[in-house]
Symmetry: C2
Subunit: 194 residues, 2 copies
């Protein structure tokens, strides 16, 4: 039954959401490495993939592939070869972002394009209430070789980054990362913030 | 008189709309190359810089610098050396995202970290109603050398990408970029979408 209390609760949700500006999703994103046991629904995974596919790319070549992983045997094998992948133990899914050497605009562009893809996935995950962490693959050749072998990637596909995913089981404060001294104005020697 | 049930239904619609927003900013972002003559206020430039600074980076090294450019003589010089920078002619500002070889976690990581920074700036710009376009610098060595000379960047600072900015004077549809065939499941040979 709908009563005034329900309406006032809904209004509070609206007000909180309105307070959250789009840029807040960028500012409040953190690396989340602890997850609940809840499995991410397929439609949320699809939304993350879609977010990745809407990244800009040089000459719009979209030189990427994705490997969705939820097989915990594979997670164990990745943990065995990657020093910073222990959070996969509790993850629901991971998405491996890969570059395609045949599709890229020119040599070296796949690395640039995959950066925007990976950040889109991280931001999309945060904005729908999931926790995510960027597990670095490129530029470590040994990690790239291990992932290539494990997932049977062809020679023209380069593993770039692995994103571990789950419902967050930790909360993190937003730190102060604004560093005005790193901003220059029209010339290196001229600080933007005086 | 409007009854409580109607009000509560309307509130649910509002909440659903608000829920859609964060990923919408990712999906609807496009490269905007035409701008009005209106100058971007300083507080919006600061918000874009802040968005960039909240990118993830390997071991949180934050190996980046920014050069804010609004000097049209510099824009003209960039246009003279860069084949795809003509939109600077009408831009209010540009932000050059640079990597710092001294601050990066290890060789080659600045390229990875700057990708997330640049995408954050593009998304933040779109979400506050600005138009932005990623002008590629890395991995083209001639473009990097030209920007280095023009802005007097030190040897340990690598230009990565230039983002042109202004109030949009063009509107673009959201294309369909969802390509299910690029998604694999636990193994390269296994399609995620059957």
């Amino acid at each position: 039954m709908t009563d005034l209390f329900t309406i006032s609760s809904l209004l509070n949700i609206v007000i909180n959401r309105l307070d959250m500006k789009p840029t807040d999703w960028i500012i409040t994103r953190r690396s989340i490495r602890k997850y609940t046991e809840k499995k991410i629904p397929a439609e949320q995974i699809e939304l993350l993939l879609k977010a990745g596919m809407y990244a800009p790319s040089a000459v719009n070549k979209q030189p990427w592939h994705f490997v969705v992983i939820d097989d915990h045997n594979i997670f164990d094998e990745i943990i065995a070869v990657h020093p910073n992948a222990a959070m996969l133990k509790g993850a629901s899914h991971a998405i491996l972002v890969c570059g395609d050497l045949h599709l890229q605009h020119d040599d070296g562009y796949w690395v640039v394009d995959c950066g925007a893809v990976t950040e889109n996935i991280l931001l999309a995950a945060h904005s729908i209430g999931l926790g995510a962490c960027w597990i670095g693959i490129h530029p470590r050749e040994n990690r790239k070789a291990a992932l290539r072998k494990l997932l049977d990637l062809p020679d023209y596909v380069e593993p770039y980054a692995l994103v571990s995913l789950g419902f967050p089981a930790e909360e993190k404060e937003t730190p102060d990362r604004f560093t005005p001294g790193k901003v220059h104005y029209n010339h290196w020697g001229n600080p933007y913030f005086k």
